[in-house]
Amino acid sequence: DSLESSGADTGSGDTGGGDKGTVVVGGQDFTESQVLAAIYQKVLENEGFTVQTKLVTTRDVYLPELSSGGVDIVPDYLAGITDYLNTEKNGPDAPLVSSNDVDKTLEALKPLAEAKGISILPPSDATDQNAFFVTQDFADQNSLTTLSDLAALGDPIKLGAPPDCEGRADCEGGLTKVYGLKITEIVPLDFASAQVKDAVKKGDVTMGETGTTDGTLAADGLVLLEDDKGIQPAQNLTPAVNADFLKANPDLEDIFNQLSAALTTDDLAQMNLKVDAERQKPEDVAQQFLQDKGLL
Amino acid sequence: MIRLVGVGKTYEDGTVAVQELDLDVQRGELVVLVGPSGCGKSTTLKMINRLIEPTSGQIFIDGQDVTQADPVQLRRGIGYVIQQIGLFPHQKVIRNVMTVPLLYGESTATARERARELLDLVGLDAATYGDRYPHQLSGGQRQRVGVARALAANPPVLLMDEPFGAVDPVVRIRLQDEFLKIQRELGKSVVLVTHDIDEAVRMGDRVAVFETGGRLAQFGTPAQLLAHPADEYVEDFVGATRGLRRLTVTPIDPEHLEPLDGVSTGDLGSAIDVDATLEEALAAMLRDDKPLVGVRSGAQFVGVLTPAGIHRQLRASLK
């Protein structure tokens, strides 16, 4: 039960490891984050911790808590947390320090995180980047697999994306400047929402924005175009841990490294699909995943 | 004018407030309901203007069954003084009195003029009290405003529930007199509730004496009541000293005066009119400290009354 603090002690008897105290897993309250939080919870419970999961709406809410110890560990995204800490320290107009390069981004992040009392464990290969999709039919007709292919087509393009897309390097800015797409209009539609998918299916817009781990696209007859020029920053899954907590529990590092190593983008997409389409509970999906990977 | 036939009221909790009541009020007549506390006087009054619906019997006004009438139209023709006074706390005194004339569509100026007159009538100076709110008045002043309010519309029928209960005797007698004058002049039909048997005797053309439980014990003129109480209950209620009370209502009987012979005019003191009551005769004797009082008809002396003579006339009237 990932939603309820009261459900925290459900798995504490899994091992004979004894009670090592309470851990608070934080995170945001969307499907993928729920699944990851559930995975973290199970792993920690397996280690003998009592776990509370607190999923909140925004990073603004949990990050200060992570720094102060109100939250101990968060499954976070590499570029996301980097950008957040960077703007917090250097102001909203500071140049971006995240990029599509995982190592460089991680290097930029570490000092920012340390200053906040946050330790960053090595990122997983699994990544949840923003991505753009079109209908499978449209892609087939024009043999499209990458954004460059689309640019080569030269057609005017209507884009369905959140309103802040305009000008952003990982959105309209990058698409026009890096790829040379001719974007004629940005129709304001929420990221990865049902509306944006409908709009693409109906042809109201040519292309919509979603995430790489969106598991429902195939079923809807939609397909992602590869970001072959790398305008998306590296949003690899990265455990962010309160530094004091990690210091007190150094053996956790290994355990989370194992977990990160086992996790793939496709796993995320599959797990999201199970939750979003089949309506399985995140904790069941997490349990299945951990068993399949032999991590429990 | 008003007729109650077999009227009864049993409250929801089973309290029988009024039972099998037959009563009639002629046009221009003032009928007083009197009786002990809780005997159903207010309940009876409120059934006439349908503030309370009777549980049995029928009530007619001008031959029309009130239960068939539109209550609003019905009540517009009936002035009502509520026992709890019930002034509008959000309106100034003058406005409270203007309220019914305005209801009838009179102009503000006319209504205000009328309200001023009526406030004066009930002994409240409109300039001093008109602009106050009710909570700035004394208990008796509030009650007088309530009476003025009910009179303002000049309705042909008036229901008054203990209208003078909270005022002192001087003001009360003034109000009673003023009210009687208006009533006689304008021929209003009035039902007045009081617990004051003196007021009943003084004001009522006929008096209905209620018994606890809402039974009508006797209904007649004050003189009948005092002279021939229907039963012990009425006799008790009218009072052990009812003989004395009769002084108030018994007129001098010119047939049975003692002759003037041998009485020097100096001994007569201030003579009284032959229309006066025995009470006034006795009061005059005491005031002048004389054992007799002259009675005159116009300028003409018609005889003298002595204490014994008064007693004799009183005893005669009781038969």
Partner: protein
């Protein structure tokens, strides 16, 4: 950077909360938004009031109606504004009507209860006196009951006004949110001076409305002033 850069105020560049230039540069926008916010709020609350009185009257006469009215307004109140506006959208489109209906429904919930409680607090003997004098229901209501219920109705009206000022910002989702429009934009692009200004105006608007209502109540209920 363009040639205008030299002119850009420091507080814009610093993204300060308090920025005098913002207030002068954006005066027309602020004025328009405030005016829109105000009229939408006022109209909504008035519509709510106009609906609340008859509903309260029906509820007073009939316990079944009371349960329905009270239950119904309860349901309305639990519908999130976003969902409510979405429900209205197909009928009223992107118009102020959408916002006003939504806000009026919310204020109705508050008002109907206070109107009911206010009417029930009118002293029995005053009502009896008025009825006895031949007041019709309408006149009894307008001349006696509503005036005497006023202090309690006003308490509800003030809560409704203040909460509507706050809720009106949500009108931004159909672009009729008054100061909410500015707020939404500013949150979107982290324009702190605008967030600050719009929030401040919102608060001032709420206080101003509340004061106006207090003043109106004083004027309308002069008899309470002398009491005690």
């Amino acid at each position: 950077m363009s040639a205008q850069a030299a002119e850009v105020a420091k507080c814009y560049l610093d993204n300060s909360w308090i920025c005098g230039r913002y207030w002068s540069d954006y005066r027309p926008e602020l004025t328009d938004a405030t005016v829109q916010h105000l009229w939408i709020t006022v109209v909504s609350v008035l519509v709510g009031l106009v609906a609340a009185v008859p509903l309260a009257l029906l509820a007073r006469r009939n316990p079944t109606v009371e349960s329905l009215v009270v239950g119904g307004t309860t349901i309305i109140y639990t519908i999130p504004s976003l969902a409510l506006f979405s429900l209205l959208l197909p009928f009223t489109g992107l118009s102020p009507t959408t916002v006003i209906i939504g806000l009026a429904l919310y204020s109705l919930t508050i008002l109907v209860r206070n109107v009911l409680a206010g009417l029930r607090a009118v002293p029995d003997e005053v009502v009896e006196a008025a009825r006895g004098m031949g007041y019709s229901r309408v006149r009894l209501l307008t001349r006696v009951e509503l005036p005497l219920a006023l202090p309690i109705i006003m308490a509800g009206l003030r809560v409704a006004a203040v909460s509507t000022v706050a809720l009106a910002t949500i009108g931004a989702i159909v672009s009729y949110g008054g100061l909410g429009n500015l707020l939404l934009q500013a949150v979107g692009n982290q324009f702190k001076a605008q967030i600050f200004a719009a929030s401040l105006l919102c608060i001032l608007l709420a206080i101003a409305l509340d004061l106006v209502l207090v003043g109106a109540q004083r004027l309308l209920t002069p008899w309470t002033r002398h009491a005690r």
